[in-house]
Amino acid sequence: MFCVQCEQTIHTPQGAGCTFAKGMCGKTAEVSDLQDMLVHVLQAVSIYAKAARTVGIVDAEVDAYVPQAFFSTLTNVNFDAARILDFTKRAQAYRDQLKARYEAACAERGVAPATLSKAANYQLPENKAIILSDAMSMALNRDKAKIGEDVLGLRLLCLYGLKGAAAYMEHARVLGQTDADVAAKFHDFMAFLAEDPTEVAPLFQCAMDIGHLNYRIMEMLDKGETDTFGHPVPTRVNMRPVKGKAILVSGHDMHDLELILQQTEGKGINVYTNGEMLPGHAYPAFKKYTHLVGNYGTAWQNQQKEFAAFPGPIVMTSNCIIDPNVGQYADRIYTRSIVGWPGVTHVEGSDFSVVIDKALSMPGFVADETPHYTTTGFAHNALMQAAPAVIEQVKAGNIKHFFLIGGCDGDKSQRSYYTDLAKSVPKDSLILTLACGKYKFNDLEFGDINGIPRLLDVGQCNDAYSAIQLALALAKEFNCGVNDLPLSLVLSWFEQKAIVILLTLLALGVKDIRVGPTAPGFLTDNLIGILNQQFGLKLITTPQQDLEEILAA
């Protein structure tokens, strides 16, 4: 096992990475090795998808499947070895189909098929023990001694960034947003990484290209969400339980939230959002569901306490899932799509009867708790509507600085930095936030600046797209570049979606971003130095020191 993709990876004097019997996320070495194998076979599919396009073959099913299955290898998504193996076998079947079609098309045209790499034609053994044995030779650090840590770090930056992009592609696809050109570029990157590139410059370019691609993907996802559910509007959300039977919906997939709301209507079941689903309350399409009563709990790392205390079933529509046996709620948590945990019921299709029956069989909350509210829904439309007022306040000198403080949450104590920073920013600053990192401070009272709330929850992590739109609009209004705005980005990362958003921001030329709580384990000091040199990227220090530097700039 070698896995270094998340922020909590093990650090020993020998280096960073989970290399023992179990990773810090709870992933076993077997699952980790099988995920490496899955990535290897998916890259083979992409190699053929790329080749097939040269003879006019574009397979939408394959284009959808590769990012979907790739998504299963993100942190806290799928811990089920059997399903990972199934994904791999299905990937190989797609590869074989594409290969046959490609070679037939070549024969038809009288041209020789391109000579593709060994990686393209890897044949999955029948026996699982041999698969696992092969998987070990596919460990991502397999040739570290030969290529060095910097090249390995760049490869991993690309691979993990691409994983994040794949996750957003899948979220967009669920909402009907696909794009053959985006898929082609995705396959190009997969195929490029399959060749084990060793040159720094092409790898660095690949990382930037992945960032650019993800900007398009976030745009697609934004379109999918707003076309389907309307543009978010600022909405107060109760963060406390109300009396009655209950279902909790976590993850990122709004489509699942809608299905659950439709199927529970009139059944006397209250629906709660959790984690990254909180911004769902702001979409107009969900306003009609009065049984969408609030948000329960906070960020993913608190599941084992919060879910354990939730008196109803829980649906994990995407990441992040952690061991439900801790807290003993494995019998009432349900996974969807690419999410998996061994022994946990997986709900396929659009029928949530099993979840609803479970909710009806459980007591639910026995009493109302005193409501406590947070406000969400400041996505780009709402921000644009507020922009004239914001600009007026900036010109009047009442708003002097914008902070974007957000990203992933996690359980490291160093993450209190983000709470302290949000509390410490000057009162004439606005704070934009997004993703589950918001839970570090979204229950605090920040007040307003002449009617403009000082804390603006933009939405999910992919709604970084909205924050970028606001920055572009402000830059246009003030006739300057985004980097000239009094805007500071202080991001928290945990997994691969955050990596690709960072790549997107860097690719767009955003400078002086601060990232924490620690540097990614796969980035060497040299690579961090290069990112600092080229983009001014910095690691967080202390809230006081960083604030002083930010405000003095």
């Binding site: 093990i10 989970c18 023992f20 019997a21 070495a29 030779s137 306490k305």
Partner: protein, 344 residues
């Protein structure tokens, strides 16, 4: 097409694929060496002195323990571990009672911070071991001898008697074949001159400390005492390497009938922990959120804070002095000595 056969170079074995026991040698009345190989063509790469994690399922429950490799990476086609029977040694005793040639055993990648500094081998290496601590020393010796260097090896091993010297025949054979391999067995019982290692005797056995390195493996008190003597003899502290985790020592902790209260307030848990049980085992048994990755006090995954109570730990290797002062421990290497309150 199979990637293993296509690469030309045999793929590196990185653990967690089953290994087949291809040989078993009874070393002493209570220890045996197991020779392990992969069914697939692989090469084993590690540093002399490192350990592997062996995973076994006993009564439906998975257990994982670390065993130092006694084989040398200079012979990369197979691995070997030596296991000693110890009171309460669940996995060790199970292996001795059950593992036979032909059977498969799950294992993890070689790991550990105690290894021979192969990048800069000195003129003289002092290998000091006691009991089962001899295993990494054989690996280091074999590597040095296989690589043809002229390093003087002073192999000083303490055991109860000759019958309980693990690798006895092999050590005697090495001593007879290599001029630079100096073997000294310090036997506390039996034989014509029963004795124990003393500072004076150590000084006689190690006449030259200039440019030498020392490696120590055995019970904690043995290593602490020996390290102290070596420093008094002029050995620089940074040239003395100790195995911070001693599997033998850890597993030889007697399982007693003493039970203590274990409280984890954040999760509303109140349970008991026996004196012979690691804190990690107890926390896992209660379904609490703690990750046991290496289970040998190396990786730091199971770091947690003891807010009240007394514990004994066999490893603090990944903890900072501030963390140790604040009460942090590695749960896999920690046992209770009183009622405990723990923060996760």
């Amino acid at each position: 097409m199979n990637s293993i056969t296509d690469t030309g170079l045999l793929p590196l074995w990185q653990g967690e694929s089953p290994l087949r026991c291809i040989g078993r040698h009874e070393e002493t009345p209570d220890s045996a060496t197991f020779v392990l190989a992969s069914d697939q063509p692989v090469r084993f790469a590690y540093r002399p002195g490192q350990f592997i994690l062996v995973n076994v399922e006993i009564d439906g429950k998975k257990h994982c323990r670390a065993y130092s490799l006694c084989s040398s990476p200079s012979r990369p086609d197979k691995l070997a571990i030596t296991v000693k029977r110890v009171p309460g040694g669940l996995v060790s005793n199970w292996l001795l009672d059950h593992l036979q040639p032909g059977q498969l055993v799950a294992a993890g990648a070689p790991a550990g911070e105690f290894y021979l500094q192969t990048e800069a081998v000195p003129q003289e290496v002092v290998l000091l071991s006691s009991g089962c601590g001899i295993t990494p020393m054989l690996s280091m010796s074999q590597w040095l001898l296989d690589n043809g260097g002229r390093t003087t090896i002073r192999f000083i091993h303490s055991a109860r008697d000759l019958e309980n010297v693990i690798f006895r025949e092999e050590l005697l054979s090495l001593a007879s074949r290599y001029e630079n391999f100096h073997l000294e067995l310090v036997l506390s019982r039996g034989g014509p001159n029963p004795s124990r290692l003393t500072q004076a005797r150590l000084a006689e056995l190690v006449p030259n400390v200039q440019g030498a390195q020392a490696y120590l493996c055995g019970p904690q008190e043995y290593m602490d005492q020996s390290a102290d003597w070596l420093q008094q003899m002029g050995f620089p502290a940074d040239q003395i390497f100790k195995e911070d985790f001693s599997p033998a020592a850890a597993q030889s902790c007697a399982v007693t009938d003493a039970y203590f209260q274990l409280e984890v307030p954040k999760f509303g848990k109140n349970t008991t922990i026996s004196e012979g049980e690691t804190l990690l085992d107890a926390l896992e048994r209660e379904g609490l959120p703690i990750i046991g990755a290496c289970r040998t006090g190396v990786c730091g995954a199971c770091k947690c804070k003891v807010t009240s109570g007394q514990v004994t730990s066999t490893s603090e290797s990944s903890l900072t002095p501030d963390e140790i002062a604040a009460g942090y421990v590695l749960a896999c290497s920690t046992r209770a000595k009183s009622d405990l309150s723990v923060e996760l």
